[in-house]
Amino acid sequence: MLEIKNLDVAYGHAKALHDISLKIETGQMAFLIGRNGAGKTTLLKTIIGLLKPLKGSITYQGNEISSLSPEEHYLKGLRYVAQEKKVFGNLTVRENIEIAAYASGEPLERALDKVMSIYPKLKDFLKTKAGQLSGGQRQILLVGRALVGEPKLLLIDEPTQGLAAIVIEEIVSILSGLREKVSAVIVEQNLAMVNRLADRIYILKEGKVARETVERSEISDTRGLEEYL
């Protein structure tokens, strides 16, 4: 479904990604792990079109998408959730979803139901300004926003960063419920979560793919993976 070949990405003169190649099948959940600065966020940003690669190709469902804008990516079903947990703080939760529904063409009621179904508690917060939500609630709102419309590929950057264990549990269960329905590329440092959800792991080190793991047994070997963090 998503195939990246020989991707090079740079910030000005500084190269962040070297010759990245990876592949994700439909319905799979792939995880990107690696140290801070390894290039994981850069990779996601390039896939969604916020950054343009120097060379290489990104193919999605057979089509080359590396030159498209983020708006065009959205229409193709790609959804990006950034690392900073930025919601539209000055708007209410309901209005956040309203904006998410706007471009997708999905009726607001249906969008709201969809988000409510993954996280019913959000109903109490519909009229609250999104800026007043806690970190965990924001993360869930962001995932909810991403699910409006017809998402096909989720790109999520560090969803559990800075969250309490209970909240992490909720997010894991939400993502768990999405398996098989949407494909996903998720950046994570939380190896337990990776263990539970991953079909495939890519380990990034200094802008290169250090290791690709598809075997269940190797994914469970958290000790072995830890050294890459």
Binding site: I48, F88, N90, L91, E95
Partner: protein, 277 residues
Amino acid sequence: MLYTVLYGFTIGAILYFISIGLSLTFGTIRVINFAHTLTYTMGVYALITLVALFKGYFALAATLSIILVIPISYVIERFIIRRLYGESLDYTFIATFAVSLIGVDTIKWIWGVNPYPLSDPIGTYLAIWGLTFPLYRVLIVLIAILLFLALNAFFKKTIVGKIVVAALEDKDGVRCLGINVDKYFSIVFVLGSALAALGGVLYAPISSIHPYMGLSILLLSFAVVIVGGMGNLKGTFLSAFALGMVMAITARYWSQGAETMVFIVMAIVLIFRPIDI
């Protein structure tokens, strides 16, 4: 003393009309538009011509002037502003300044350099509490308040308004939700320019009209936007009236110092709250 207050509110209202566009353009496109008051000036000159044409139907001439100015601001947006997205600040300054140079010179070419007089279109007075106030000035303040309420409603209730509010905070976030933000920013730009023209048209009868009128009020608008906060609607409203008041009160005691006082206030604000662009 009350006259001073009314005068302050009137100036404040006019500053508000002009600063809204400047503030929004900065908050959204991140461009400091030196040519912003070009539509202000052009609206005024269009007004002069149309008022002569329509022999005194001020409201009609005023409305038409504003409408005429809109295509000009669209052209500026399309060919200059759009190319400045993401550019370093000095180039946006210089480019927009160049546009204002061209615009002012065009005005000088067509209408000449001499000031035009324009009289108060209403001419009647409002009598309250034993004092007479020029009705026209009161009207300007009322229009400003109405505009504030209308803009508030626009940004809170309409989906376009909400998109702009969201984009002011997180432009990439809105883009990643499939919305072409730049298109809406262009609309905001043209709206802001139209409002500046409104300000010009309303202020024309009580100010001096000359080709450089845009520049002096532009500098004051910069001060308003800086004091009120870029992209901050309520802040712009408050600071416009506050600075208008500063001008009026200063003018009462020290007639030429009015504008300078505004700059001193701006400098003080910048010292204690430097903006990071």
